[in-house]
Every structure is written in structure tokens, then in C-alpha cells.
């Protein structure tokens, strides 16, 4: 049987994960609304909810991790996030 090299199962599959969150000083009405809803539902101990974005980028097998980190940081700064209102965290695996 041939090995399954589909996108999900590729042995050298690399993924960049970018998590974007609103900066602390920026009003986050979605987060506030969800927090209120959680409280109404009876969930206690919630002190804050912040709603952001999650972006996954598939990278070609064998991509150099250091180069990819540099390129994606650049892209995250220019396009994927807006540094005026958002922070981001990048993970490559």
C-alpha cells in the first residue's frame, strides 16, 4: 500500500500558527459581550474575554524554520495583524 501523502498526513508537513489578539488598551466589545453572556450562564471566575483571530499557514515540506519564522513575522507585521490595535504570537511546527 502506498503511503498517504495528503496535506494532513504529509510526514514533513509544516504549519505556521498565528494567534492575533486585541491590544489591552483597545476596546473589545465582542469579548465584553461574551464575558457577560458567560456570567449570565452561571460561569463564575471569568475576569476577561478577548476575541481575536487564528490563522494557519501551510508551509512547503522541508521549509527552513528560521527563514520561515522571519518571513512570517514580516507578513504578520505588514498584513496579518495591525500593530496599532493587535498583538500576535507565532508558532511554527
Amino acid at each position: 500500500m502506498l503511503p498517504n501523502f495528503s496535506r494532513e498526513n504529509h510526514p514533513f508537513r509544516m504549519k505556521a500558527k498565528i494567534i492575533i489578539t486585541p491590544k489591552k488598551a483597545v476596546l473589545d466589545p465582542q469579548g465584553k459581550t461574551v464575558q457577560t453572556a458567560l456570567e449570565h450562564m452561571g460561569y463564575t471566575g471569568v475576569t476577561g474575554v478577548h476575541i481575536g483571530k487564528y490563522i494557519e499557514i501551510d508551509l512547503a515540506p522541508g521549509t527552513d524554520k528560521a527563514a520561515a519564522t522571519k518571513a512570517i513575522n514580516d507578513a504578520a507585521h505588514k498584513l496579518l495583524s495591525n500593530p496599532v490595535i493587535e498583538d500576535y504570537r507565532l508558532e511554527i511546527e
Binding site: P22, A25, V26, L27, P29, Q30, T33, L79, L80, N82, V84, I85
Partner: protein, 236 residues
């Protein structure tokens, strides 16, 4: 005067802007986002709508279109650029204007008439607005809450870059007159050089009495006057 009105996929106030400029006696043409040339333009309007479906963030993708590279050069050379609604968002994403526009504080899309106070007549976009005149113009946006950090706000104030603020009908800058939670009730600003401006309200939808208000025309009249002065100065 010649106006170039940009057209992105899902722009929807482009025709309104062209109509308003022509109605007020000047010429306007549409420029497709893939064109890198603006033609013979005295002023560029970045119109309202939902450019590129508002994907990722409003205005984020439009920033990288070929036409915006030309608009940036045009602005750097002192050309007048006005961004309306989505156009304002495009200009902040393009770093032609400081700050950002975020989701309205009540999460609602607001489509209504509001009142605008002109904070300064010292700009090509406000010079002809009669002193003390409160403009009644429509807004139509879900993400029009102006945000900038404290340092940027201080700079905007120090340089007189705040052009318009939401107010009540008597001109008071109240919280209840603020439709989206914008900091300092900011509805529109200009850059430090005062040749690029953006605002969330739609003056182009309020240029003739038939549409319920013709008070948006004062913004266009200001631009016409500024362009005329510029032409006179260049010829002298």
C-alpha cells in the same frame, strides 16, 4: 477640477462619489484598483464600501493593490486624498493616516444621520465650511470606532489634525451623540501635512436637498477652493 475615484472589488459608494463631484460642477472618473495610473487627477477619493469583502480587516487587503502604491506617491507629492468610510479604513491601514477603525462599541451596524462639528477650518477639506455650522450627514458602518494610542491622540490634538467630531444638533460633543465609541468623538482626521483626510460619515450622500441634506457639499466646496488656490499659485 478632476477627481479620480478608486474602485475596488466591493466598493459601493464609488458611483455616489462620482455623482456628487459632477453634481457640484466638476469632473470625476473611476480608477480600477489594478490600474497603476491615476490619470489627470487633482484629487483622489477613496470611496466607501467593503473592499475585498472586508476580509482579514477592513481596508487591509486594499492597501496592497497597485492603485494604492500610486495613491501613496500622489499623497507624498502633496496631492489631495479624501477617504470616506471604507476609504478612511484603507488610508489608516496604508499608514497614510494614523490610528485605526475598530468595531462599533455596541457591535451594531449604524445607518443613520448624525451631526458633525468641524474642529478646524485650517485644512483643504474644511476651509469653506461656514463657521459654527453643524453638518447633518449620514453614516453607514459597523467598524467606525476611531482608535489611536495616547501618544498619537496627543499628536493629533497638538497638530490640529482632528477635522470632524460627532456632536448633538447644538454642537455639543456628548457621549450619546457618538454613534460608535470613537475616542474624542473623532469622525475624521487629516495627516500632518494636511493633504490626506479620512472620515467615517458620507458627505457624498448629502450633496443635494433631494437626498435629505446638502450639507456634505461644504467638504467638497472646501476641496474645490483648495485646488483652485493651488492652481492659481502654480500659475503665478
Amino acid at each position: 477640477m478632476n477627481f479620480s475615484v478608486l474602485q475596488f472589488p466591493a466598493s459601493n459608494c464609488d458611483q455616489d462619489a462620482v455623482h456628487a463631484v459632477r453634481h457640484l460642477g466638476h469632473s470625476a472618473r473611476l480608477v480600477w484598483h489594478k490600474d497603476a495610473a491615476l490619470g489627470d487627477a487633482d484629487c483622489v477619493i477613496v470611496p466607501g464600501g467593503f473592499s475585498y469583502g472586508d476580509y482579514l480587516r477592513c481596508g487591509a487587503i486594499a492597501r496592497f493593490s497597485p492603485v494604492m502604491q500610486t495613491v501613496k506617491q500622489f499623497a507624498d507629492n502633496g496631492g489631495l486624498v479624501l477617504g470616506i468610510c471604507n476609504g478612511f479604513q484603507v488610508l489608516t491601514e496604508s499608514h497614510l493616516l494614523p490610528g485605526a477603525l475598530i468595531r462599533n462599541r455596541d457591535l451594531q451596524f449604524h445607518c443613520e444621520n448624525i451631526f458633525l462639528k468641524t474642529a478646524t477650518n485650517d485644512s483643504p477639506f474644511t476651509s469653506k465650511i461656514p463657521a459654527g455650522k453643524i453638518l447633518r450627514v449620514p453614516i453607514a458602518h459597523g467598524e467606525g470606532c476611531y482608535f489611536a494610542d495616547e501618544e498619537t491622540l496627543a499628536k493629533l490634538k497638538a497638530n490640529n489634525q482632528i477635522l470632524w467630531q460627532y456632536c448633538d444638533k447644538d454642537g455639543n460633543l456628548t457621549d450619546s451623540a457618538n454613534p460608535n465609541g470613537a475616542l474624542l468623538n473623532i469622525a475624521g482626521i487629516c495627516n500632518e501635512n494636511r493633504n490626506v483626510a479620512g472620515l467615517m460619515p458620507h458627505p457624498e450622500r448629502a450633496c443635494e436637498p433631494l437626498l435629505g441634506s446638502d450639507e456634505g457639499k461644504w467638504i467638497f466646496e472646501s476641496i474645490f477652493a483648495a485646488l483652485k488656490n493651488k492652481t492659481v499659485a502654480a500659475a503665478a
